[in-house]
Symmetry: C2
Subunit: 381 residues, 2 copies
Amino acid sequence: MADHPHVPNDPSRPAGGQAAAAQSAAASAPGRPTLAIVGATGAVGTVMLSLLDERPDVWGEIRLIASARSAGRTLRVRGEDVVVQALAPEVFDGVDIAMFDVPDEISAIWAPVAAEHGAIAVDNSGAFRLDPDVPLVVPEVNPDALADIPRGIIANPNCTTLSMIVAVGALHREFGLESLFATSYQAASGAGQVGIDTLYDQLAAVGGRRDLGQTAGDVRKTIGDDGFGPFPAPLALNVVPWAGSLKDGGWSSEELKIRNESRKILGLPSLRISATCVRVPVITTHAVAVHARFGRPVTGAEARAVLTNAPGVAVLDDPANGEFPTPADVVGTDPTWVGRIRQSPDDPHEVALFVCGDNLRKGAALNTLQIAETLVARGLR
Amino acid sequence: MADHPHVPNDPSRPAGGQAAAAQSAAASAPGRPTLAIVGATGAVGTVMLSLLDERPDVWGEIRLIASARSAGRTLRVRGEDVVVQALAPEVFDGVDIAMFDVPDEISAIWAPVAAEHGAIAVDNSGAFRLDPDVPLVVPEVNPDALADIPRGIIANPNCTTLSMIVAVGALHREFGLESLFATSYQAASGAGQVGIDTLYDQLAAVGGRRDLGQTAGDVRKTIGDDGFGPFPAPLALNVVPWAGSLKDGGWSSEELKIRNESRKILGLPSLRISATCVRVPVITTHAVAVHARFGRPVTGAEARAVLTNAPGVAVLDDPANGEFPTPADVVGTDPTWVGRIRQSPDDPHEVALFVCGDNLRKGAALNTLQIAETLVARGLR
């Protein structure tokens, strides 16, 4: 497969165009790997099908798999109709790579089944991320972790970790990360389609009302107790300092994911890292305010130069002209966008950044697909 | 004036009621100090008049002052009509305390004029905050700074600093603050009435639209380039990592205010402090994610106990039951609300918090009035 080179992490790569032109040939080419997409009908699966249209096509057959409820539906893949199959052991026969975007408990059962059938499973659930026998991979940061895949399973990081780790990883390679503070501004779609629907409904309820947000609880009353969807409080006209489930010491599972996954991806098992995760009324694209301390002094210009040359990173940093990344301005794009790059006036080892990444693309579908593409480029192992 | 005790910082204090009952008597009582409110017709001035209705009344005459444009208007003060006077030197004759909520350049000229006329000026602009001869005061944190008022001027901190400093100050008193990371979730009203109007207009434009926020720039196009108001990017369905003006090294003026004002208020001139200020689509109440490191280990329980007993602080911290402060749930209230109190698993000296404070009340009008009330309780000096 090494004769199909590609550049999975180049943000300057044009979308569509050349890749689309190569599609028919690729789909019928003999010897190309078979790809299965498990969870093809979900929010991330939908983005995955878009990405397959946009990126250089290295695939033979692409098999779509979902729950029995969604089986039989037809989706467009590379310009052709493909019928969705129900999840079952035999659908993995002949599959080279199976990408999973399904709940933890489904992945926990079915990723090993795919591996038993000879596929490499690339899993976007939380089921395997901290398993020492499962590499947790971001191709721009730790591609060498793909050298050993003992269980036949590779894990894709959590979307919030992925929103910042490409930028943080590039700085770490150059300057040596010592500690990290990360506070998030997380989009509703991180909670899935129900999160998106909930925020749209809430915005419809508050839009045009000029009396809300000035008195305690009036937003809550307007939306109604049954209108919070997957969130523990109103999200429109509000921010909610909670994502995930409660863990020891008052930390949320989302905050500990950022800590534990960043440590594993960066190969820094005792990194000091502290996160606060907050949901904001944005549909898609997570933002993260990062304050990072390095082993040596780092000026803003040095950090900017490293980030400008880092694969998968786009720098937008000219606040005098209103240029910095915002979620609504970068949603739907592939890079990790970085702005507000500045050195601490109190600690020359510390750099602050504001980072934005589309949580459905780089935060989920794109990184999973990049892992799969990297496997193909390396001849699958 | 010491015979008029009050409890300016007690969040359990009932609003209205007893205070309102005492109003008529207070308004006509001989020997009570004369208060001037400069900027009475603005957003903060409006909140100030509400607070004067709610709190124990220690005032004799209350004089309302605004620009020539607003002079002649009538506002209700303690249940009575008061005519707004135009700003001029003679309006300060006989004034004991003059509270200013006007732009920096107006305060820079007129606060000294009030002081020359024998008033103590309590100024909420940025004109004097870092002047070494002007105390910068939060009554719960550094009331003793009122012992010396060389220029006859006292400064009120910036609203974002005020949203967190009462909680941080309480922890510092007990545990000794060593370094601080603060990232903000700042409300539109921090940019004044035009900020509020802009966000309401943007929400009216996006409310009910289910197609926005999925593609780069579609929110920007829907709102239109002339709809951003005082913000450098769309605020609805977005977050904007910018507040204030550009300073050295890429820092925003708002971020440096948090740093410099916190150092002065806490009496820690070389405190390591790093802030990222981000505007969010909330009408009123700033939130701040705080990660603070202290001179000794601090458990979550120890921090919670100190905060529970701290004047001006209300703790809401039971995430298992969805209890943590959010801006929409605490707007219009006086305390600094604190939740998500937790000790770092990597550094026992570090505690994380999520703090919310109404930026128009404690962040502006309330703290200004508390300073004035404290002066009265202390016999003006």
